[in-house]
Symmetry: C2
Subunit: 221 residues, 2 copies
DNA sequence: AAAGTCAATTTTGTATTCATATTGACATTT
DNA sequence: AAATGTCAATATGAATACAAAATTGACTTT
């Protein structure tokens, strides 16, 4: 058996990372309580948990907002993710079991199919699994959890970006290099390739966001 | 103004990392509530926050224990810290301002005095500040916060260790190398030296803990 | 018309009460 | 005697009630 809070947490966390709840949206306790037909108590616990994962911002006596991530905070997150994932690839390269490597290869092959079909949704799903396998391949639960959490918080930005770009082939080619390095247990190359891959994606995200930001400020004027 | 929860959080978090509250100790809501002369509600929020930082383990309907960190979890944490701090040093080496570098140098000099006097407490304090300056030197709040949180969770083990060891000179010499690298903006060396430094400390911690663990299991038999 | 103040309403923080699950002891049964 | 089952006590999960702070809107005043 589980507690009410965790089920509601999962629902809300999902709605936040999937973009159903937009950044800056107010999360008020009473509406949420009535929506889920519970009292305020479990809702407050959920909000606290969401805050601890960085999905919402809560200020005492002010309330809770869906996290709105500024440019500098975003670049902090992207830099951290870039380095952490490179670290994961490095460690995974000399720590993954044969079975784990096979799984990675398999997912990568499936991704190729999604790319050729231009199936964006499927690609995103497999991409998620790809990075999960690598972080799990570190056999370090703390690192895997940390990077997984970061990816969750960033997924909104990635989705927004992948919709407007047709660089699935490029990404897939880069993944190929990473897979090759890990399969051959070459930690140095795995690190470099993963880092370069993420660095490129990061700059795209930043580029896109600062573009839309300038648009906004023009509109506002 | 602040909320009751955060003040109590700080007190309890401090008691946990300082070892006043021992790993495995039960944290019951009613005793805590009476101790702080508040109701259970803010206590529950504090416990939740402590859990999100990994300082306590809470299981639904079971209660809350001060986190007891197993050997495998500890090595995960040490590995993560080792790599993260090395990363910090690397980034800080090419991002710290002149003022920040001066501050680092100053703390390092003060540490030398503490070492020569054999002042353990002061050394620990300065050591904390030393690592804080470097993580802050990344100018990446997320990374700094992450590594700071990790250090907090690990500080109990470090203290236990530093009491039984007289290797302050060794550590200080290693710090010297790190400071030199950062002052001269040599990111590669800063990374390597910091990584080696932490790796050495980590192995000491593990060594010590597994020793006391075997003692325990012998006793239990 | 604009700015400032004050009151009313709304929302969050805290306390209290109610409900339910776990735990430990004791008894019963095999 | 060991094991299992039941029951009472206790602690946590959830709901409700109360208090305090903040926001909002209207009204006054300049």
């Amino acid at each position: 058996m589980t507690t009410i809070s965790v089920s509601i947490f999962n629902i809300l966390a999902n709605e936040i990372v999937s973009g159903v709840l937009k950044p800056g949206a107010k999360l008020e306790e009473i509406p949420l309580a009535t929506r889920f037909k519970v009292s305020r108590t479990p809702i407050r616990e959920v909000l606290r948990d969401l805050a601890s994962k960085g999905l919402v911002q809560m200020e005492p006596r002010k309330g809770v907002l869906v996290a709105q991530i500024g440019l500098e905070e975003l670049s902090d997150m992207l830099e951290a993710e870039c380095e952490l994932e490179a670290l994961c690839a490095q460690i995974a390269a000399h720590r993954m079991s044969l079975l784990e490597k096979k799984q990675l290869e398999r997912v990568h092959e499936l991704t190729a199919i999604a790319v050729s079909k231009g199936d964006d949704a499927r690609y995103l799903e497999l991409n998620h699994e790809f990075h999960n396998l690598i972080s799990a391949g570190t056999h370090n639960k703390l690192i895997a959890e940390t990077v997984g959490n970061l990816r969750g918080r960033l997924s909104g930005f990635r989705q927004a970006q992948s919709k407007t770009e047709k660089r699935l082939q490029t990404s897939h080619a880069e993944h190929q290099c990473i897979v090759d390095a890990i399969l051959s247990s070459d930690a140095v190359i795995a690190f470099q390739k993963m880092r370069a891959h993420n660095a490129r994606l990061s700059s795209k995200v930043i580029e896109q966001l600062s573009k839309s930001n300038t648009n906004k400020s023009i509109k506002t004027k």
